[in-house]
Structure formats: structure tokens, C-alpha cells
Subunit: 312 residues, 2 copies
Amino acid sequence: MDEFALIRHYFGTAAAAPGVVLGVGDDGAILEPTPGCQVVMSLDTLVAGRHFPDDFPAADIGWRSLAVNLSDLAAMGADPRWCLLSLSLPAVERDWLNGFMDGFSALAQQAGIALVGGDTVRGPLSITVQVSGEVPRGQALRRQGAQPGDRICMVGCPGEAAAGLLAWQQGWHEAPVVARFCRPQPQLELGRALRGRASACIDVSDGLLADLDHILTASGVGATLALTALPRSPVLKDWQQRCGEVPLSLQLSGGDDYLLLFTLPPAQPLPDGAQVLGVIDAEPGLRLRDASGRLLPVLPQGWNHFSESNDD
Amino acid sequence: MDEFALIRHYFGTAAAAPGVVLGVGDDGAILEPTPGCQVVMSLDTLVAGRHFPDDFPAADIGWRSLAVNLSDLAAMGADPRWCLLSLSLPAVERDWLNGFMDGFSALAQQAGIALVGGDTVRGPLSITVQVSGEVPRGQALRRQGAQPGDRICMVGCPGEAAAGLLAWQQGWHEAPVVARFCRPQPQLELGRALRGRASACIDVSDGLLADLDHILTASGVGATLALTALPRSPVLKDWQQRCGEVPLSLQLSGGDDYLLLFTLPPAQPLPDGAQVLGVIDAEPGLRLRDASGRLLPVLPQGWNHFSESNDD
């Protein structure tokens, strides 16, 4: 099967989505923006052996490559609309492609995003997805805007994805927590609900502290987190039973959770299920308060694809 | 320099462009579409050793990675607006990055496209660029629409890029034709001028015959090309003097020219500099007429990244 047949076969199914005037099959897709909306765009690349294990199932790679991008739209409060997919593959393997597109399409359908174009090249296994979303003019969430006194919130449990990856690497593939790494669920509904309410928002891809630091830097503020406020979910407790105490670093610096981290002004009610992890301070820097009330020193460290500490 | 510093340093210069509400530095860019316009999107990936030689200058890789994408916008008749860049790099080398961004930015500035986001990952050298353009509603050019009797046209000389690559591979780096491969010039002005005039359009990336075949298939027609109509430019004649007679296959099947191939209804005047290469027929298939008037058999064959004939 040659490149063009491959594109037609796997990419040619999303033509009839709203706003799609012309999908896959020409030099470009033609799209109709919604009046009154702004367009939010992001793109992310996943490299085999770096962003997912070499022996990762194709369907999970497909899901994940879209999920990490949709999470960016969620963090901006945008509604998913259109995406483009570039696949760099060492060879054309029909089973692998079927699996990949199954995972990709399952999430695309769930999120309501249309695949409108793509490229396939022969090369080392790597996937780049570009997503476009829409948001009513002026309502996109940003990293900038957190104010002293705002609460720092999440819905969900940080560290699950990192624990899932560890379980996978140790051969414990059926661990409940593995799904948190393999099939991250972008918090699109939450992002939409935070429009006009959250003062700042980001998705946690590099680790809780590292991504909080992005909000603090963009907003010109500081923060204090209460370590006792970090939730321990049932799947993390499962992991703990088999693998030992959950290291604090896993929850503070483990990447890949793709949960929204947001700040809420005092007058705003907490969204359902949200945990308050701390508070924004006027004083710059990040402080951690332990169970006894002591303030611990902290370095905002997370997953950083080019830093010495996390790379080979 | 870590990933974030790298992104800020090289990507953070394009914030003030029209329609850019928020550029690099958040989870996504925020863009303001032009009322009355549709958005055209495309993305392409370039892999080292496949889409450019391993010893290619960084600045030429930067130029080229944007040029191949802008050429898709040209083929749709779209005005370039915004782009996103994903860089997969084996290591962070400041000189290489400076060179790459110099070439990329030179063309971005020339074409009036704003870099509004990106991703950098450690991995095998590969570049993915996604571009968005705008076109007045309903005026985008497509591959579909060629009618019997339409002339098949180009502005420029096919085969130059393939000759340039051959010269490069033979160590003749200063050959005038090398620039045609290293720094393809997307025909954006021509694309704009063809709105409402051309019945079909495509950019020649895979080779003249292969890309003409895409028009024929999309339009449900056939074509006859006159081999005597193929132009021989001065730089191709230079090449010929040193390397011998230009093979027909170089002009018919050599890829990477990034010239527009378009069909013009009889009533439409030829754009400046356009050559008529042949005519659209009602009878399906592609026919080549040689100097003596004989029809030659032809297989539409071009550069195809997954076909056996062109791959390792």
C-alpha cells in the first residue's frame, strides 16, 4: 500500500464534521470558523522511547498522541474542532496502523474533533498532532492572571500517570493505574466550565510543581502548597500496596497527568470534585507546607525534555 | 539551555502579527480569523536523510521546512497567516538552531506568516510545520474542477530541484541549480492570482506526472502533455553542460520543485510567464506526445515516500 492509498484509507473518514468544507485529500483542508469565536492552536510531538515506551500498544499511542494535544485545548477552555496528524513510521504495518487509528479515532470521536489532514513519512517512529479549537472571543483561559488570595485547584490526583509508567516498566501492565498513563483523559468539560471563572489555567504535563511555576512566572506571583492536600486516589493506593509508599516526588514532579491546574478567585465556587492544593501569594517563589505546618524548601522540577536531569 | 528557555529564545518573536491575540508561551496560541474568510490548513514533516541530505545546511533545512508547507497554501490560493513548528533534535546545538531559525524566519518574513507556537523534543532530526492561511469564502483552489479543453500550465521549469539535489549529492554545491532544491520559492502570488481563474491547482512536490495525476483523478478527466513544451531554464542548461543531457524522467518525475501546476479554462488569459504544457481530455489517462507527434505510454510515477521504488 503506497503513501497515498494509506492516507485515503486511514484519514479519509472525517469529511462531514461541522465547519469542515474540505477534509483530507487536497493540498490543504478548508475550514469555516465560527463567527464570534477565536481559534486556539497547539501542536505536540511524541517520540518512541521518550514519550511512550517502545513496547507500547499502538492503540494507546494513538490515543495518547491526540490526548496530550486536546489537553492543551482544555487548558485554554477551547472547544475541540479540527486536527492534523503527521506519522513518521519505520515501515507500513497494517496491524499497527489499524491499532493506532483505533485509539486515535476513539478519542477524536469522544472529544468531537475532526481529522482533516495529515502527512505520512518513512522515518523513526514519531507522531505530531496539531489541534485547533474555538472559544468565544476573549474567553480563553491563560497562564497569566493568578492573583494573591486565589485558591490553587485540581480535579483528580497528580502522580497517577507517573505511577502508571513505573508499573508498566516493571512489567505490571494490568495495574489499574497504568490506564492513567496510557489513556489520559483531557479535561475538556472542566476547561469549558472554567471560562470566566478561573483566573489562570495550565495542564499538568511536566509535573505539578513545574507547571505551577509556569503560572506563577506568567502571573508574577508566588504560592504556598499544602502537602496534606494532595489526594491519594484508589488506583494510587493500589499501586502503593504493591510498590511501596508513593514518593512525594511522584506527585509533585511526575509528568503526564494531563490534569488541569487552575486558580480560582475567592468569590468563585469550587467546581465539582475540585481539591484546593494551596493558595497564591504576593511573595514570589513556591513554598510547601508539611503536615506539621513547617515550610519546606522546593525546586520547581518536572519533566523537561532537554534538561540534563531527565534525559539519558 | 533547557527546553523552555529554548522555546522562549527562538520562538518568542512573532507576537505582534495581525490576527495574533496570543503567540508562543501558553498552552496554545489564540488567533482571530478574518470575517468572510475560510481557513486553509496543512502540515508536512521533513526527516533527515530522506527529505534533505544529512549534511544539509541548517538554514536551508529551516527554509525548506516552511517552504514545502507554504507551497500547499499557494496551491489552495490562500494567504499565509500562522504557523506552528515542531523540532525533534538529537541535541540542542546553538549554532544549528540559530542557522535553522535564520532560514525559517527569512522565509516567514518574506511570506508574511507568524510563528505562533511550537514544540521541541529530543529525538532523531525531524521537523514538522503546520501552516494556516486564509482565503475569501468559497474561493480556495482545489485539485478537483479541471474540464476537457482546459490548458495545463506552470510558471517555471520542472526538474530543477531534482537536478539540484543530484548536483548536491555529487559534491557540486555551488551549482546554480542547487538553490532550487535548497530554497524552493512557494508561488504564493501566483496562487492568489489564480483565484477565480484556474479550474484546478496543485503544487508539484512528488513530480509533474504524479501530481498531474492527482488533478486528473480528482477531476475525473485525462490529459495529453507535449514533451516539446517542457521548458529548459538557464540553470538547467548549466547543469546539462556539466552533467550531461537532462533525462526526461528528471523533468517528469523529479520531485521537490514546489511549482504550481494548474488548469485554465479557454476563456482565461495566461498569467505572466506561464507555459502551456498540454491539455485536459475527456478520455481518462495520461498521454505524452513527443516531438514527432507520437503518443508515448506513461506511468504516472513520482516521489512516493512509501513506495518500493523510491525507498531504500
